[in-house]
Symmetry: C2
Subunit: 376 residues, 2 copies
């Protein structure tokens, strides 16, 4: 993997760059649609590439390990071939999913034991095993197994949790170095900063992570319930320590506003299920604010969904039609809203990138954040 | 509406023709995808037109009347504009849906009182009201309100039900003639033959329907539980009486085999939810037989879904991938299966039409029916 920064913003920590992977280039800052189980919900692969303009998507190690399972993925020649997606893929380590299964998992030094949410079968994820699974998935960017520290966490818990993540990381890196790609292309391994909302822990963790000299670094355990201002504070602190010349990935974040603020704080990569999940409930993001398409006011609004939108759904379908589909729980409604929202997210980071290059990112961002807060 | 027959088959009653409507031509025999509530489930309009090659779709008066309702449809300028579909639309009268609500509806001479399946609100459909609603929907082909006689029905019930359908038809035709299209294009009105599985009732009904001199005629009350051979027998009897120079539409039918046999018996139009509904459950129709994609045997079959398929899903996605999506209940699975099955149905009737024109329909049909029965 290679990361080149084309431009640093003068008035913020934003940067515009390019990540080069075995499956092509990613222009940063970038948003990564979430394809949890090998599919971005309700979206065809050609829609991801051509209509949404996705440059990289996410897969979830936990979900893919359970279904279709490593045997199928291995015989398929990895996830790219299995799902017919030839651009980059990043895999979450499964840590977040496993730790969400609060009642059926047990953390030990070795790793985490958990029960499948599908059939209750018992499994063990260790840092090494997760590397093995990600080798089989064949993701371009593999995430290290971490404990995603819950919020709130007392200082002791947060500290122990962070230290466990660090010990797991050392094992994961060692195993990553001792293993090879299965399909002949390069993979890279990103560590994850933890430390909850404690300044000193976040600093310790960022310093520890930075020292591992991986090709990119991630910030986890944010957007898990803490106030947004605290998230920005932690992110700012961590980004100041993580190497400037490597991509920084804020995991699981967030709203369009969160993403613009994250970019201003020097973050390069984002992912979130919000565009598709909120879309299924009829929430649409636009440059002029948020639309709740279920509201009565859209019932007879036959204007296009979003005249400024970049995908075909924005001009082919009306607000009234989309409202009807969502109200009637028709599958097409979720599909249209998902394409719209994802295309909006991708266009937003593309615009951000252009403004960084043009040198007016900070003022554009401040104006845009105001508009994004509108409820239409 | 204009119907031209290009070719009669020598060895069967099959015919190849063209229906011309205000929204374009329909080559018959034709299959019509069902867009119950203003959307074919999980399918974008451009996929219907470009990938599935649909020439006409169905809307359901009952569902559209409840959601989005006539006020919205009227202000939208009809269903074509509302859903952005500029090819022909046929609307079912709502009779079938209303009669499915066995416990919450009451039939009188005036019409049928029913309660909404959504909010329990009370409504009355009369033959005249259904014409009014279909005028608002703006369908190219409007179906008359009928009682879809349930199966089994004793002779008395079937006779009374048929006679009620006939009396309703007279009122419907009168109202159709006394009203006008709301959007400046021609609409036509099809009556429906009933009579359950009684030869003499079916004959009486077909004669009555034929006498109304509508531009096309439908056969209802079949494929409601009776043996398939009885359905073919009734269809054969009815088609022998319905005018040869007008389209014949067999409502709600059926499997690919049913459609080929229906074509051989002189039927021109078909509709069914089977391609999308069965698709959602992982059943795929192909020229070589039926695939239950959930079966273990497809787990590691990385070959294309259907190398002979006509839509992009057939070659872009593998059987193993589709199996995974359907097993994991991912929305994309239902979408892929729906596009495949609908494209298969449309290709099947297109092939049938070509074989009628080429003069070898009967032998092709017999071979194809054998293949369609395979379980792969």
């Amino acid at each position: 993997m290679k990361f080149t920064i084309n431009k640093f913003d003068d008035k913020s920590n934003a940067r515009a760059g390019v990540i080069e992977t075995a499956h092509g280039k990613i222009e940063t800052p970038i948003f990564m649609p979430v394809g949890t189980v090998g599919s971005v919900k309700g979206i065809h692969q050609h829609e991801l590439a051509d209509d949404i303009k996705a440059q990289i998507i996410l897969g979830n190690t936990y979900h893919l390990y359970l279904r279709p399972g490593t045997e199928v993925l291995h015989e398929a020649g990895g996830l790219h071939k299995f799902m017919n997606w030839d651009k980059p893929i990043l895999t979450d380590s499964g840590g977040y999913q496993v730790f969400s299964l609060a009642e059926t998992r047990k953390i030990t030094e070795e790793g985490v034991k958990f029960q499948s949410h599908i059939d209750g079968s018992k499994h063990l994820f260790t840092p090494e095993k997760v590397v093995d699974i990600e080798r089989i998935i064949g993701s371009d960017i593999m995430m290290a197994l971490d404990e995603c520290t819950p919020y709130p966490a007392d200082y002791e818990y947060a500290k122990n949790s962070m230290e466990l993540t660090h010990r797991w990381l050392k094992r994961g890196i060692a195993h990553f170095k001792n293993t090879q790609s299965l399909y002949g292309f390069d993979q890279t391994y990103f560590p994850i900063v933890q430390g909850s909302t404690y300044n000193d822990l976040r600093e310790q963790s960022a310093e520890f992570i930075a020292k591992q000299e991986c090709e990119g670094n991630a910030i986890g355990g944010l957007s898990v319930g803490e106030p947004t201002e605290v998230m920005y504070e932690m992110l700012d602190k961590v980004n100041a320590i993580l190497p400037k010349d490597k991509p920084r990935y804020l995991m699981g974040v967030g709203t369009p506003e969160n993403i613009l603020e994250g970019i201003a704080l020097g973050t390069d990569m984002f992912d979130c299920v919000m565009p598709t999940r909120n879309g299924r409930h009829g929430l649409l993001f636009t440059q002029n604010g948020t639309i709740n398409i279920k509201n009565k006011k859209w019932e007879k609004d036959f204007s296009p969904i979003d005249p400024q939108g970049t995908s075909f759904v924005d001009t082919k379908y009306s607000k009234a039609y989309l409202r009807h589909l969502i109200k009637a729980d028709e599958r097409l409604g979720a599909q249209i809203a998902g394409i719209h929202n994802l295309a909006f997210y991708l266009d937003l980071v593309k615009q951000a990138r252009q403004h960084i290059i043009d040198g007016d990112f900070a003022s554009w961002k401040n104006q845009m954040v105001q508009k994004l807060r509108n409820r239409l």
